[in-house]
Symmetry: C2
Subunit: 394 residues, 2 copies
């Protein structure tokens, strides 16, 4: 018998892999201008600093770093991370767990909480990577209505009463894929609803430091008196995604369950990558590094918005205050998936918006990333896209 | 409402966390002699080499290493790993997937294959970390009879006919916890049974290079004509467990499903730790490093066996040809779990054998690790244990 006779687990029914990861492979040819990923600019990746740090920590504490570590985290990072997170969120954090990228945080939270059929509420569109995670736990994904100020608390309460969800998954700041930010006055009500109805909130906030205009907003977590909000943090956008270090912060009981789940996911996150992040925190390098990233990304976003302004009538797009993405809606009738094939022929890529919706549809939408391209590439790539759109509506 | 009202997912019913990881915390006090873990000796951890490598790869290829990588693996490692694995296993390997420690390989294989209630056959006792993984996928664990030469193919076939398992989980070489090795003449029959009945074999072989006497045996994988055997490999015991790099090798269809599963587990394994392992392979450092480790571990194992020889009558223990563990059975009536409390008071630790059995029991057994202790510590620690056993049977 050959393995093509294998019956794979039911959790894979309907899951065919991340559209982004597939597009990545399609566009891995030289000369491609990619607005597809959520990659930091290469210039934002601190390679020489990391080289010096890696050597230092291995020379000085290499035996402990190369030995098995605790599932609970590398002790020096645990220490620096706790003060960092408390300062970031402006509130007491009873427990923190370093994880192998914040993707693992979502995986562990689903592992801890989700039985097949359990409802997870979420924005629609939302981050497709974590939607795939929810599908693999056989959750039922139920969208909650949002507007340009994010999730609407009244609609959220209706959905809670109707669906008795186990969890709300939300990206409150510079949302992926829309770039929208949850308004200040909606944040406390969400924390209150969570406690009233006994619903865990996964507050996924990897872009919060990438703010180019406007004032920083308090996290939903900072309004959480009872412990229902679990904050998912990441160093992928502000240090390096290749290191795979993120964290979850919140209630010790929930984090304990996630820790037990992590024992059989990967035992612990690599000590070396945790030690490098610890060095960044301990040396206080992040504020300056982040300002320099933000200066470039703002210029890149502005360049992209400028180019979008001359798209044909009927095109709409978000104007985010930060983050990595602009969300665009092409004139009705256009199909961003069909357009992608032609765009890739002309060496430009993006992610069709349909992949970010719980039930697909919305074929005329697309997500555009500006962080991974130079100003030159943005002008050239968006000009190419504009040409394609103009051709298509003729 | 407080989060202590949370209903966690059913997969955690009866799962309270790894006994080993709990014992680790209990014994994290100075002066403790630990035979509990499966840790490499500190002297076996190449900290200065790793420091040089980490700096070099980050200086030379740091942008790619710090950027998002492919779920399929860091390209240079994929290349060196494939030749390494083929040389190791002595057969063509159609596909290989680097993972975040071989613990993740087991997790991904269960994710790909196991529906709640599916049967996994395994040795009894077996590795408790991976048993916890199987429990979290709500598999039904069914032991297959083994003797001092490992799994018995006739018993395996009976179990296959009776239980229609999805998977066999086996540690064929210097098994954890018993130290036993699957005899040569049993290896091909197991591969044949897998293909005849359509059952995946997870061949978990992290200790195969740690051989102190006798001849290396071909892997079960090398007898696999159809692709049902997935080989789980690890660099934890021969380079470093703290780096969290392992791999799975086998059928492309199965590995593809695991890759999709990995997208939402951790996106990809950290590029930096993959790059360090690549350097070890590429520079051909492993053979010499492994001989030097083996020379020490053999002396440590021999010292432990010497000390065990003078234990009270009724004590039995395995005499492995390699690996990290000796498995001991104390005189009937003794309880290794009760004894552990007294042992820890006297600064000696081990893992009670009961934790490694599917249904517990076997209270008079224990697992002893010799790799993480010096000869001095082995003499002193086992002498302490002997004293305790002698007191207990008086």
């Amino acid at each position: 018998m050959k393995p093509d006779a294998i019956a794979f687990a039911r959790r894979f029914d309907g899951v065919s892999g991340s559209a982004i990861r597939e597009i990545f492979k399609m566009i891995a040819k030289p000369g491609m201008i990619s607005f597809a990923g959520g990659n930091p600019a290469l210039s934002a990746l601190p390679d020489q600093t990391a080289a010096e740090m890696a050597r230092k920590v291995l020379e000085e504490n290499g035996k402990a770093i190369l030995q098995y570590g605790a599932t609970e985290g590398y002790p020096p990072l645990l220490e620096s991370l706790k003060s960092y997170v408390q300062a970031q969120l402006g509130c007491e954090i009873p427990a923190v767990l370093p994880v192998t990228g914040s993707t693992q945080a979502m995986d562990l939270l689903c592992k801890a909480l989700i039985n097949p059929g359990d409802v997870i509420l979420l924005e629609n569109p939302s981050f497709l990577g974590n939607m795939q995670c929810m599908h693999l736990y056989e959750a039922r994904l139920v969208p909650v209505e949002s507007d340009e100020n994010g999730l609407m608390p009244a609609k959220l309460e209706e959905a809670i009463q109707k669906y008795h969800p186990k969890m709300l998954y939300t990206i409150p700041t510079f949302q992926n894929p829309t770039g929208r930010t949850l308004a200040l006055e909606r944040r406390e009500p969400i924390a209150r609803l969570a406690a009233r109805y006994g619903m865990v909130v996964a507050e996924d906030d990897p872009y919060r430091d990438l703010r180019y205009t406007g004032e920083p907003l308090p996290s939903i977590k900072s309004f959480d008196k009872e412990g229902w909000v679990v904050f998912l943090g990441s160093f992928s956008k502000i240090i390096s995604p290749g290191l795979r270090v993120g964290y979850m912060a919140g209630d010790p009981l929930i984090l304990r369950k996630c820790t037990i789940g992590k024992q059989s996911s990967d035992v612990h996150t690599a000590n070396l990558t945790q030690a490098i992040v610890d060095q960044f925190l301990r040396r206080g390098l992040l504020p300056e590094h982040i300002s320099s990233i933000c200066a470039s990304y703002k210029a890149q976003m502005d360049a992209m918005l400028d180019e979008l302004a001359s798209f044909p009538e009927g095109t709409r797009y978000t104007r985010p205050e930060g983050g990595l993405f602009i969300w665009a809606e092409l004139p009705a009738g256009l199909d961003a998936k069909e357009l992608l094939d032609k765009a890739v022929e002309r060496h430009v890529a993006y992610v069709p918006g349909t992949h970010f919706f719980v039930d697909g549809g919305h074929e005329n939408t697309l997500r555009l990333n500006f962080s991974a391209s130079t100003l030159e590439q943005i002008h050239q790539g968006i000009t190419t896209l504009r040409g394609l759109v103009e051709e298509s509506i003729r």
